[in-house]
Symmetry: C2
Subunit: 431 residues, 2 copies
Amino acid sequence: MSILIKNCLVVTQDKQRRILKNHDILIEKGKIVKVARNIQDYADKIIDGENKVAIPGLINTHTHVSMTLFRGYADDMELHRWLTEKIWPLEAKLEAEDCYLGALIGCIEMVKSGITSFVDMYFFMNDVARAVKETGIRGFLSYAVLDFPTPCFSSPSEGIRKAEEFYLKWSGDPLVEPLFSAHAIYTCSEETLLGIKEKADKFKALIHIHLSETEKEVRESIEKTGLPPALYLEKIGFLSENVLAAHCTWLNKEEIGVFSEKKVKVSHNPVSNMKLAVGGRFPLKALMEKKVTLSLGTDGPASNNSLDLFETMKATSLLHKYLNRDPTFPSAQQVLDMATIGGATALRKERELGSIEPGKKADIVILNFRKPHLTPLHKVVSHLVYSAKASDVETVIINGEILLEEGKLLRLNERKVIERVNERVANLIKR
Amino acid sequence: MSILIKNCLVVTQDKQRRILKNHDILIEKGKIVKVARNIQDYADKIIDGENKVAIPGLINTHTHVSMTLFRGYADDMELHRWLTEKIWPLEAKLEAEDCYLGALIGCIEMVKSGITSFVDMYFFMNDVARAVKETGIRGFLSYAVLDFPTPCFSSPSEGIRKAEEFYLKWSGDPLVEPLFSAHAIYTCSEETLLGIKEKADKFKALIHIHLSETEKEVRESIEKTGLPPALYLEKIGFLSENVLAAHCTWLNKEEIGVFSEKKVKVSHNPVSNMKLAVGGRFPLKALMEKKVTLSLGTDGPASNNSLDLFETMKATSLLHKYLNRDPTFPSAQQVLDMATIGGATALRKERELGSIEPGKKADIVILNFRKPHLTPLHKVVSHLVYSAKASDVETVIINGEILLEEGKLLRLNERKVIERVNERVANLIKR
């Protein structure tokens, strides 16, 4: 199907960060083929872009989408108690259908809020993949591998085997992109970490990992290995340009240098970090100065409690302006970059995703800007970061398919999914 | 007109913080008359509350609503340059019609996002009052009085005279509640401050003031008076239970003690404080321990850039959990209190506003909770603070009148107001 978006304000996020007024976007066979004024080509579907803003789909580089099930289940608790008394006991009871439904409602939430790609690390990933396919979103999915028994495997070697099977099963899929994950250095032995790396290297796949999230993790790493988390990973040969590290709240200067040198990718998750009170200080400025690829994640809905990158963009800006005591840093443009082209680069997909340019995959979000809270419009990038809301997302195109049109999901019955999730959660709590 | 809301989940915010399932709310002559199950009384209008949550209208205790005109006009700038190069030159050109239209679009934004009362300090306040009356929101309005010439008066004595005229004109109005404002200690001489206080005392009115917002303000206060801002105000006899102080980012322990003793009310504005990078650290915990009345403000849309207390509630929680390195503080309930009953108490209206209880004014917000991002529902107060969005607000009742019904404004044509604001802003920039 071909789609022509007419007369839109296009925030391209191309190299020049061009903002194009009254431009049209032509989409054919899942790709953007033309961005220009007054395109006269035939299209199966025309979208009126008057008073609308088109942006590249937002890229959420760290979440555990099935954890929507636990959203708001236990807030305002101390982290260790939260995990041991609330989250882990429920996770131990998880079944495939739980993860499928949790992922399904989370994918719907993401599509409706303008997220077109997300990175996930959890359990029952074939069921998460099923939710991704049904929704039509782009999922970069991986089994969380760790040394403890999980609902899906009882040993890390079994986990690695499952992860490889998962990789082989989904490799080449147009929407599900498999990758590998090591949960964290405090849950994976050196053997596990290197076992995962070996598999990822074999397929030239990305490895996702939680890194340097809490002071406890750093302290224990130093006690055990003599090194802070990133330097330990560097020492064992784990780090490379194929590693996407989430959180990095406690990175020190030397670790930032290693990240820069090894081209490690970073996912910043400010809402979760603040809500869980992990302390530390994500070194945004130092990482930018060292040209480390930066992206944004929501983290799981149990610790956020939203899958909303508009909120995360604003939180990123607010937090770092405040911490740096500098209202000029980061700029709205820098933050928007993290949520779009930065995310694509973090996934090594900067040639395919992250901007509105001919040749790229058609993952496009159209926002309605004729809203009181977006009036007047002085600067569109400022509005995207500081004033726009997930609810301004009106139309979402992923891989050239319209999934959301004027706020309505085209593929799924949202109300029915909500009912199924509610029933399933009641069942899970009882179990 | 009488209104009956049926079968709703009611977050009362009463003394016991009761949450009532499947309850009905009966509204007559602008007041809540009954909250119970299965109310059988006659009502002119029935609202189906199935899958809906009713909360007391949110109270925004600090803004400059007409500054919607400058929303996104100059972000990411150093504070002094922002004011002197961008904001003040435009403010100098402001006319009454600008402030009216800026206020009108801002009031619409607030109603749509569940704010039913707001405190404003700016210029051309009769025109802001006109916007309040047209929208139907509750406005606690005051002229900003300061020693420098403004678009409305050229001397502070003229300002105080205008403020008194404004007070007399609007006193007794059902929606516009006039109060007095001193802009700040760095813009008002002692004579001006005491002149305003004298008028406020005469009418037993509230005085609103910006206080201890930046380090510069504190430093200059100490240089000039030997005292930090709040102690200086205490020394000159300005502080009382009728003072509502906005920001208070830099309060020290002694000042917190004085606030507690004098029962000064506080408006916390975390989004603006972070965005403008004012530094300091709003002493939330210490103020709570000293039982100081705490409320939430958005500040003006030029420094936020939204009029959205759902966003502000989440930002309050995130910021203080992070700063305190304690995920348990503040709790969702404590934050919701600040946005509702805390706001009412800050305005000395705790007997009339801020909770859903018989006898109170009918300022009620109904949210649609059948949304993917609010699924599942474990705890309603957690969802209100961490997951709900302004866009979940579906119906808004102020003073017993339905202003917003299923997301549609009943009194005003939103699209026409947007067009008028856009034209006016183009004209202002040219002027």
